[in-house]
Structures are given as C-alpha cells and as structure tokens.
Point group: C2
Chain length 460, copies 2
C-alpha cells in the first residue's frame, strides 16, 4: 500500500474506530503498513490512554522504531508503564545512539530504569557517549558499525555482514582497523560487491580517510557530510583509534537543528530546540523577553540623541517625520548584509581571512545602493511629499534627508558585514549579530548623522 | 593518508611547486589522495591557465568527479578547450543528473557540444529531465538506479548489481517494477544480503512504498528524506510508473539551498543561489535594492502619521524621543513571532489548520511580554530617564509610552504570527512576511496608537 500525508487523518479515524470496537487484529494489520514516524504521529493524536494499547500491538522491532519517534512525554509515560521485561525488550532493539538521545531527555529515575534494563556492555557504551559535551561529534555518534581487519577476505566480510548486519546502524560503509583499533581504511558495500571473493580487505580498502574527532563540533562534522556526500563518517579519539561512526540521518538532523538555532538567534530568540506547538507559553516568553528587554533598554541612546537635538526638531518639525524611514532603511540595509554574511559563515563559504574582501565588496555595494535610494527619495520628496501632500519640504531639507540616507546605508552595510565575522573571530555565535542588534547600532549612527547634516545645511 | 581542511593551503603550495617545476608525476600522485571537491578547490585557487593541465593529470573517473565540483566558469572553460573525444570521455563518466545540472548553467553553444558528446539514449533522458520545472522533483532525480522484477532471485539481483552497480548512483536501495514499469516494491542492499540465495525479490521486497511525483516540489520531497531517514526515494509519473530516483546527497543540497533562500527572503533579499564571494557587485545590488526601495516608499505612511500629529509633538516634545524605542520593540517583537512561524512552516510543523492555535498562543505570549516590558520601562523612565537624565517625563507621559508598548507588542505578535500562515494559504512564500515587511506595518500601528493615547491622557 502506498500512503501519503493527506491520508494520515483518515488512518487516525480508522484506528479510532478499531480501538473503540476493540478490533485489535485489524488495528495491528493497519499499523504494519505505516512508517514508524507516522505511527508515532497517529499515537500522539489518539486519546492518551490508548498509547500503551497501540504500542503493545506492534511487533517488537517496529515497536522500538516507533518508540524512538515518539515525543519525550509519551516515551516517559510508556517507560513508567512498562514491566521490567518489556522495557528490556524495547531497549535491546534500539540503536545505542537513540538510547542515548532518549536518556538525555529523561528524569533521573527513568534513566536509572533504562540503564538497569540495558546489558552491561551497552550500559558501558551509553555512559561513555553520555560524557561527551552536548554539541560534540561524540554525542551524536553510534558504536554499532561493521569493523574489519586488513587480512579478512571479501567472503569473510560478507559472512560478518550476514551475522551482525541486522544490528548495525548502517552497512553502506565498513571500517578497517589494525590490532590496536587504529583506523586504517574503509570500504563501501559497493566495493565489496564488485570485488572477488578471495581478495582481502587490505587490497580493496580506501586509505584516503576523512574522519571526525570525538570533540569536534557536531555542526562542523555535519557540514562535511554535505560537502563530501558521505553516508557515514568515522569518529576517532585523539590517538586515531576508531570509537564510533556518525550516519547521514543524524548529520541531517544536526544540520536542520543548527540552522533553526541560527535563524532563531538572528531574530533575537533564545533557541528552544522544540517544535513551536509543543513549547509552553512561559518557555516561549522566556526565550524572547531577555532580548526584547536588552534591545529596549539600549534604545535609550537613540532617545537621548533625539532629546539633545530637541531644539533643531522644534525649529524644523518636518524632520521628525523622516526619522522612521531613515531608521527602517538603515535597519533593513544592515540586516541584508549581516544575514548574508552569517549564512555564508554557517555554510563555510566565508571566514575571518575574507574580511577585507567582504568589507571592500560591501563598501561598493553600499555606495551604489545609497546613491540610488537617495536619488529616488529626492524625487519622491519633491514630487509626492511636497507636491502631493504639501509637506513643508525645501530643497535643503530634502538634501539633508537624502545625504543622511547615503551615509546611513554605508554605515549599516559596514557594521552589518563586519560584526558577524568579528563575532566569529572572538568565539561568539555570529547569528546574534543579526538585524535587531545591528538595527540598534545603526539607529544611533543615522540619527547623529541626520542632526549633524541638519545643523550644517539648515543652519540650526 | 588522512588530510583535513587546515592542510589544504599546504597542498596548494606543494602543487604550485610541482607545476612550476613540471613534476607532473608527483603532482598526479598527490592528487590521487584527495577528495574530488577539494581537488576542485585547489584547481580554482591555482593560476587559471593550470586548470586544464591539472585536469588532464587525473585518471578518467576521478576527473569526472572533480569536473562536477568545479564552478560554472571553470567547467565552461574546460569544455571549450576539450577535444571531442575528451569531452565524450568526461560526459560518459558523469551521472546523468550531474550532466543535467551542468547543462542548466551553460550557454547554448556549450550545451550543444555536451549533447553531441552524449550517447543517443542519455541524450533522450537528459532532454526529458530538462523539461521538468525548475523546482520540481523531476529536475533533481537521476535515472541511474537498479530495478528488479518480482520473479528475480536474490542471486539474480547480486549478478545484476555486479554487472551494472558501478554506473548506478546508489545500490543502497533497489526498486521492483512490473511489466509496465509500475512501482510495486523496493528492497535495501541489507535485505538482499540477509536473504537466502534462492528467495525471490517478490518474497523479500517491502511493498509499503513512499514515493514522490515528478511534479512534486523539490523541497517537499527533500523534507521527506529528513522525516523518514531515507537514503533514496523513488519518483513516479502520474500513472505510478517508476521514472527515476532522488538520492540523499541531492536532497541534502536542496534542503540547504531552500533554507538559504528562506533566510535571504526573510532579510528582504532576492535569493541569488551563488556563494557570496562569487556574486558580482551589481548582482548583489540588484538582489537587495528593490526591497529597500519598496520598504522606503512604504515608510511614507509612517511619515504622514507623524506629520499629521505635528502639533501634539510640538506641545510635548519629549514624545519624539521614544518613537525609535517603540518602533524597534514593535519590529523585534513582530519578527520573533514571524520568524518562528516561518521556520515552523518550512519544517512542516505548522500549517493553515493550526492558525487558531498559533494566534491564541501568541496572544497570551504577547500579553505577558507586553506587561513585563511596560513595567520595566515605566521603572526605567521614572528612575533613569527622569531621575538621572532629567528628561521632562510626567507620570502621564510614562503611562502613554508604556500603554503604547503593550498594544504595540500585542499588534506586532498578532501580525507577525498570522501573516506568514495567510501568505502560505494563498500560495505566497511565507518567508517574505518576515521582519522588514512586518516592521513597516507595525511601525504605522504603533505610531497611531501612540498619538491616540497621547491625545487621551495628555489632553492634546
């Protein structure tokens, strides 16, 4: 059967009917045709008390796959309801890196139960992975991969895949280690299939290895998947001993999560790592209010600048009307530059060594954009604002506004392009240097310039 | 040999020396240990006239892999310098979807040469793929996959992989079609390896297929990879006939590209699909200026609002000083909401049916945030602005500012959360409804409220 997202709602209705009528055989049969992540969605949508019932309908292996996809609350509820034996069965079926992910979200008493249900060897591995820092490559790796020795033959390798392949996270790539577990090569399943039965692993392996270290930043490792089109990547310790692998699905999750983090930081939000609709009101408030407060208080400077030029504004009141336009244009121009640079840094296209190139480019872009905007604005001021709306605009006033526009765009682009690179250089997240932060700085600059030009040209 | 990015600069130096001293054997030996994308980077960094020399040092297969990774200009130069035979050799080695990608970027005369160098069957396929719309799944698919029939045995399948596996983009997943090429199932290489030699494909295949249609949006298809952890996905035509597959590496590229597009749109930039440092000055200007102009002109409204309340501002001049703070806070509060919602829509976490839930959540968040900001601001106004800076602030003025703050945050969150969803509902890209656009609307709203409160409380 082929199903697509549109029919999920229908599946839920069918499941509801089956469960209400206690037609468990039909319910089970329906579930067998569905992808684990969609079963998880269906379970979370059905009434809460049916979750354990539906879960127990699933065959062991599928049950484990569904368990991984459930949200943390449902996982916790299920674990609390499991018998010792049930929990052990689920844990045995899970890949180790998934077990680690689940443990990281659970309260201490549930963690204890999970660890007690794991076999001693897994428990040891889980504890090792748990000790890697949160954003490190070690924390997203799995230890379930196929390793081979140089002297293994191709048919040895196939035997090994047939014996342990079911429990490995991937069989697309296999890794070759020496007696001390140093990583010496790798081979793909394709290499293996295209080789002769009696060739040795040492003969066909690729020794040109690109690996990650356990303490490498997880985003850096994930970007390598994108760059090199890997399906898996070996992770080594400081002595080049193979300790695990990262698979493409986990790398992809990291990329999506890190990008969301960037986007949220750019919009002055503290990242929450939770889907919007599952985040509580107070969590949302908390992720937003510190930034709003900070930015609100820093607007004190712009306020003081305006206060100190009160007399100028009182003399030529029309100047006030153009403050919003100047501030918004500055903010927008600055955020165009900063957001472009922040994304470029994320994608590894721009680094500190490019700062001169970047600044030189933005200067030229700023001059062209500033001049075009100024000319258009001058025309608009004289034709529409003066001609149509009869605002009291003289040529001098229009000049003050347009000259300020040019300098504002220039300052905005310069601040916007350099701050993210400098932030990166001193170890901050460049994403914080996006629009809101830059707007505050550019606001102050553009007001100072505005009043300076007004004083010069209007003799205030 | 293991190498990492840090040593690329050293590799370039070594290559420069080899080329200068015409030590081509050493140069070739060095290149053999390097990943194709890094060789491409090295070639682009070396003097331009050495590109063809280095390219000809590479063995055929590696040369093709490097060719794909080169930038469009270098590809074009190389093709122009190739003999007919050389071009044919490179094209033969390329995967069809890569050939299509290259053709899409080339001028007409180069396209003609490429098509002439392809064998007739490939030419036909290329022309078919070229006809799919730019953002469709058809445009990113490849036709080089392994297909099997139900009655094939496992050992037939292995024979087939050994025969054609080298030319296929992936052997991780194989697809099963009936006599009319309808897609009836799939199996992974793992399924095959764990099965018995004499089992048939029909017995071990998985019939629970999730496929994409040729005209599906490429981002939608790519998101399915993320959701379901696929390595490849079949693409079918309107009659469920298998016409191609999409592989994870291409899906990943689409996700990164579409995310960059979203981020650029959110910052009021027209997406360019080129790395920042490779985009020309005028291209950059052109991607930014239409939005700045549009937003500048729409600021006319805010200007007119201020003009029409000129008398009020002249009477209580201190009101002007708080316009920037109110506008910025409104803009920031709105962009927090809109950016969160836009990302949620992209990640398929939020859709039109959630609009009531979203608005209700944002209303509650806005009330809490608005009140906290207002209280903090009131304290700041009385203690710092009045107490420290001796601004002429009365309790009434402070009330006007703080009440405006509450209503502004409320309006900003409401506009910010609903506009992206509505944009999506009527078929626009929600990303356009981000900060700059919302700022303009919220500016006008907050100024109108500000002056209304001022008139009421200050009896102007």
């Amino acid at each position: 059967m082929t199903y697509q997202k549109e029919t999920l709602e229908e599946l839920i209705e069918r499941m509801e009917t089956y469960l209400a009528e206690k037609k468990y055989v039909d319910a089970r049969k329906t579930l067998l045709d569905i992808e684990p992540i969609d079963i998880a969605y269906i379970m979370e949508t059905l009434p809460e008390d049916t979750i354990p019932i539906v879960f127990r309908l699933l065959p062991k292996e599928l049950a484990a796959e569904v368990f991984v996809e459930l949200d943390t609350d449902s996982q916790e509820d299920l674990i609390k309801g499991f018998s010792k034996q049930e929990l052990k069965e689920v844990i045995d079926e899970l890949y180790l890196d998934d077990t680690v992910d689940i443990i990281e979200e659970m309260p201490a008493n549930v963690v204890k139960r999970i660890l007690a249900a794991s076999d001693p060897e897994s428990r040891k591995t889980i504890n090792t992975i748990l000790q890697y820092p949160e954003d490190s490559t070690g924390s997203i790796m799995t230890t379930e991969y196929i390793d081979l020795k140089r002297f293994n033959t191709v048919s040895d390798a196939f035997k090994r895949i047939r014996r342990v392949g079911q429990d490995m996270e991937t069989i697309s790539v296999m890794y070759v280690v020496d007696a001390d577990r140093h990583l010496v090569g790798f081979m793909t399943i394709r290499d293996l299939l295209l080789a002769e039965e009696d060739e040795t692993v040492g003969e066909i392996m690729d020794t040109n290895i690109i690996s990650a270290a356990t303490l490498d930043d997880q985003e850096e490792t994930a970007r390598k998947f994108e760059k090199y089109d890997f399906l898996a990547m070996p992770v080594v310790d400081s002595e080049n001993r193979l300790v695990g692998i990262v698979t493409i699905d986990d790398a992809l999750d990291v990329l999506v999560e890190e990008t969301t983090e960037d986007i949220e930081r750019m919009a002055a939000i503290t990242p929450s790592y939770k889907p919007y609709l599952k985040t509580g009101i107070f969590e949302t408030v908390w992720s937003r209010i510190p930034w709003l407060l900070l930015l609100m208080v820093s607007a004190t400077f712009t306020g003081q600048i305006i206060s100190s030029f009160e007399d100028a504004l009182a003399a030529v009141t029309i100047l006030t009307a153009y403050i919003p336009m100047l501030m918004d244009t500055g903010g927008n121009a600055g955020s165009q530059a900063s957001v472009t640079i922040i994304r470029g840094i994320s994608l590894d296209e721009i680094s500190l060594k490019d700062i001169i190139k970047v600044i030189w480019k933005e200067i030229r872009v700023a001059v062209i954009i500033g001049c075009i905007l100024a000319v258009c604005n001058f025309a608009k001021l004289m034709l529409i604002d003066k001609g149509l709306f009869h605002n009291p605009i003289t040529v001098q006033v229009a000049l003050v506004i347009c000259m300020t526009l040019v300098v504002t765009v220039f300052a905005a682009k310069l601040v916007g392009c350099s701050l993210p690179i400098l932030a990166k250089a001193i170890g901050f997240d460049p994403a914080v240097m996006a629009s809101p932060f830059i707007t505050t700085i550019v606001d102050a600059i553009s007001l100072l310039i505005y009043f300076r030009f007004a004083q010069m040209l209007l003799k205030l």
